[in-house]
Amino acid sequence: MSVSKNNDPFWWTLFGAGGTISAFFIPIHVVLMGIAIPLGWFDTMDYDRYLELARHPLARLYLFAVISLSLFHWAHRFRYTLYDGLQLKHLEQYIVVFCYGIATAGTFITVILIFSI
């Protein structure tokens, strides 16, 4: 993949899609699965039912979209945060590879996990 700026509309689309999907869905996940359920405010489902839920085709699609697009949202935004906040634009090539590389790797791992479940 070329580092050319002409790919920016592509990265920006992923950034926008990821920003939207994470804004809608991540807070409720954090509240329930990261705080409320671990604190015992709700009855925990057992392992089998979580597994069953995760195997549903729509759940697989949902998890893929939330995880992958959130990572690309981060990659694009963080790239520019490094340019703006720390004035690192002269390291552009390394930052681009670092940010989008991590998001791409995370996407691959997610695909493997989703199809292995």
Binding site: K5, D8, P9, F10, W12, T13, R77, Y83, D84
Partner: protein
Amino acid sequence: MESVTLQVLRYLPEEKSEPFYQDYDVPFQKKWVILDALNYIKDHVDGTLTYRWSCRMGVCGSCGMMVNDQPVLTCETFLETYLPGPIRIAPLSYFAVIRDLVVNTDDFLGKVKRAKPWLITDELKPVTEGEYRQTPDELKEYKQYSMCINCMLCYSACPIVGLDPEFVGPAAVALAQRYNYDSRDDGHGQRNKILMDDDGIYSCTLVGECSVVCPKAVDPAGAIQRYKVTGAVEWWKSVVMPWKSDK
């Protein structure tokens, strides 16, 4: 009479290589704007103070300065707002300073020109066919962007302009959209080439201050955002249907 202190940034290249603040006490008058106070200094205290101004009514866009670190048109910013003072007055941020409060506008004007803010038509209609008509709805599409007076306040509000001097900047994109959204214009493709390139619209990270400081409510931030969406749609179209693009 009540008086207020103005701390004005002076830059006198033939005397000192660095700018410095100079204090001036001016009488306070309720009806005075910052520009009136500067004119008082120029007329009665220190004739060497240099700054630009012209219309005194928020139309010419030449009296923009940083007042207490905020870019404003000094002709429509009242002294009273900043009482009891002192009031800090500096040249517009991120621009090269020529002298005192006068900045170099060459770079800005070059960027505006790059955005081709004029009507571009594929073919001219012969005069016999009459005028290019436009409905009120079509006018409404771009009218907001046509209010820009090139005062450069949005550039001084935008940290990206300061960080990346090549960034095309808010007003240039708003002016490009002024013509892109005009029903009589066919220049979209030509402007795209420039604005979607390096240091174009995707360098903007939507700080949003350009629209906050705009004295004419042009909303350059919105213009850039809408351009990003258009650019993204066109990019995907060119990937999915390569035979249809490249016009």
